[in-house]
Symmetry: C2
Subunit: 344 residues, 2 copies
């Protein structure tokens, strides 16, 4: 059996990280890469040795290469990745996309979701959106844990992470370094966005459990620091904003059934906040899970993406979400064996 | 759309618990019950009101009732449930079985597994073994968590529970109340068994990740108490055995890749042992998950079983394991809606 053949579309931090990990795996190979930097060797982008794979900005040309799956890592939004997905699907290629909104595109782009599902079926391929969050921590993991419950009354979960390693774009999007007034204005104007993915996670959970929600509410509050915090990209004096506490509520008849929190800040430990992924389920039985420290966002997204490749290749055709597929598993052997076994 | 129709086969603690929870759910109903107590109303066994469903000891008769799925809760061992599964499958019925060995029958009964898979395909039905452990805590949950890892070097997990609520059969099987010498003899003779399910969990994890193991080793050590512990069924003096510390190792080339611990004892808190489900993954990244207290075994098994019903009905035909199906989710709405959605 031939290697599984992957085309990478987008070689930013995530796309190139996925590429690097893929090169260490057995039974799978990168056969093409779509990138703005036209004509350079993929190895130059990944920081590995020469690969002989030349990046091209012309997507159509790269999509002519015989392949099994395209990994799209170009944007956070369904509208922006839709044309890429369309091109790939029409070439008969399976797709994994890490755009946050694609983790559950029915949440915010139901018409595009319908379109992608139809296209995927017509071309007998599978399209999956995934990532560490949305896609895993605040949705798939929660859903899995409810599997041990005979009844669920309420779900609360939190992902507490540390933004310190990130660059200026992330700092800006979370309002790190702003004054409380600037933060408020930034949220109103939409320049401070907090986490992208809450409607996706909440819809995925609700649909998995069969809860019909009336509304999803989101709040974004400044995390005002009492101590001086600093990273290479930002200095935050006491009284200023160290991050964004973004919370989302899924409600039915005025009652909160799902509450997801994602406070994102630099150096949370400086005020005694322990990073981690937390899930509390009220029901029968109660569930009280903590993963400390949190699964790191970058590696986590790269890993989930790679680990879902065999599941996506084996899946029925259509647009699917993480709740519809077998759980991801770290692929430690030959990718081809896993697919063969599932064919059984 | 009609209700989903369930036949219960076996109405012990687990089977009748599943029955009770099912009666509270929407879009699903029990249509028959196979039980030694011939002729009594199912409600009498479940302790609910009259149901009009009469338990019958003649399986063939009950399996004539039009149904979608049979839930088999009669024994822990594949060999013992095999004839029940065979009868059900040949009647064109899907099966969920909570026999521990059925969580991954390829581990200890590969020939029967092969047979069941063939039968299920020939009759276009799905057979699944599940339960809280094996089936969820020390396998599916671990596999799911590795999904966030780009590399896994070693897996360690523990399920620390409290046997205090259980009756004399469980106490005997775990050696509670024996002397250290009696415990040793009991393990040698096979009367003290510890946990049933380690080979199943280890094989499921290894197959999910693509690890080829050379051997599985199991050890059973007495948990000798330093304090007096007592339940309605057993009294344990200091120096005597309060439970069984059962550990299993999955090894490759002499190196342990998977270590699963399941110390089962009465009143673990009396010596400062906190009950819980714990998963530690060494890899990239490391994962460190704790669920405190542990998911209770009884409700957990009932819940997972019920929650897998829509997944099993929707699945491709054959013998499957939890790693092959979408994750369980607590079914809080109408069972029929969940199946309809998956049909999409």
């Amino acid at each position: 059996m031939e290697n599984i053949r992957v085309i990478l579309w987008g070689l930013g931090a995530m796309g190139s990280g996925i590429g690097k990990y893929l090169m260490e795996k057995e039974g799978i190979e990168i056969v093409g890469a779509i990138e703005l930097k036209d004509g350079i060797d993929l190895g130059e982008v990944l920081g590995t040795g020469k690969t002989g794979i030349i990046c091209k900005s012309n997507a159509h040309e790269v999509l002519e290469i015989p392949a099994d799956i395209v990994i799209i890592a170009t944007s956070s939004f369904t509208r922006e990745v839709f044309p890429h997905i369309e091109k790939s699907v029409k070439r008969g290629l399976n797709v994994i996309c890490i755009a946050e909104e694609m983790a559950y595109p029915w949440a915010q782009e139901p018409e595009l979701a319908e379109k992608m599902d139809r296209m995927a079926r017509e071309n007998s391929v599978t399209v999956l959106g995934t990532g560490i969050n949305p896609g895993f921590v605040l949705d798939l993991l929660i859903i899995t844990l409810t599997g041990a419950c005979a009844r669920v009354d309420k779900i609360k979960a939190a992902r507490v992470n540390d933004l310190s390693p990130f660059g200026p774009t992330v700092m800006k999007g979370q309002g790190v370094g702003t004054s409380p007034e600037e933060f408020k204005k930034g949220v109103e104007e939409g320049s401070i966005v907090g986490h992208v993915g809450f409607p996706e996670s909440i819809h995925m959970i609700a649909d998995a459990l069969g809860w019909e929600l009336d509304e999803i509410e989101e709040t974004r509050e400044p995390i005002i620091t009492n101590v001086y915090r600093e990273t290479p990209h930002v200095k935050v004096e006491p009284g200023m904003v160290a991050g964004c506490k973004h919370i989302a509520f899924g409600k039915k008849a005025g009652k909160t059934l799902i509450a997801l929190e994602h406070p994102q800040q630099i150096h949370p430990h400086m005020e005694g906040q322990e990073t981690g992924d937390y899930v509390w389920i009220e029901g029968e039985p109660n569930i009280n899970v903590a993963n400390k420290p949190e699964v790191p966002g970058g590696i986590g997204t790269m890993a989930v993406t790679i680990n879902m490749i065999p599941k996506v290749i084996e899946a029925k055709s259509g647009l699917l979400s993480m709740k519809d597929l077998p759980v991801p598993a770290a692929v430690m052997g030959d990718f081809r064996n896993l697919i063969k076994k599932q064919e059984g």
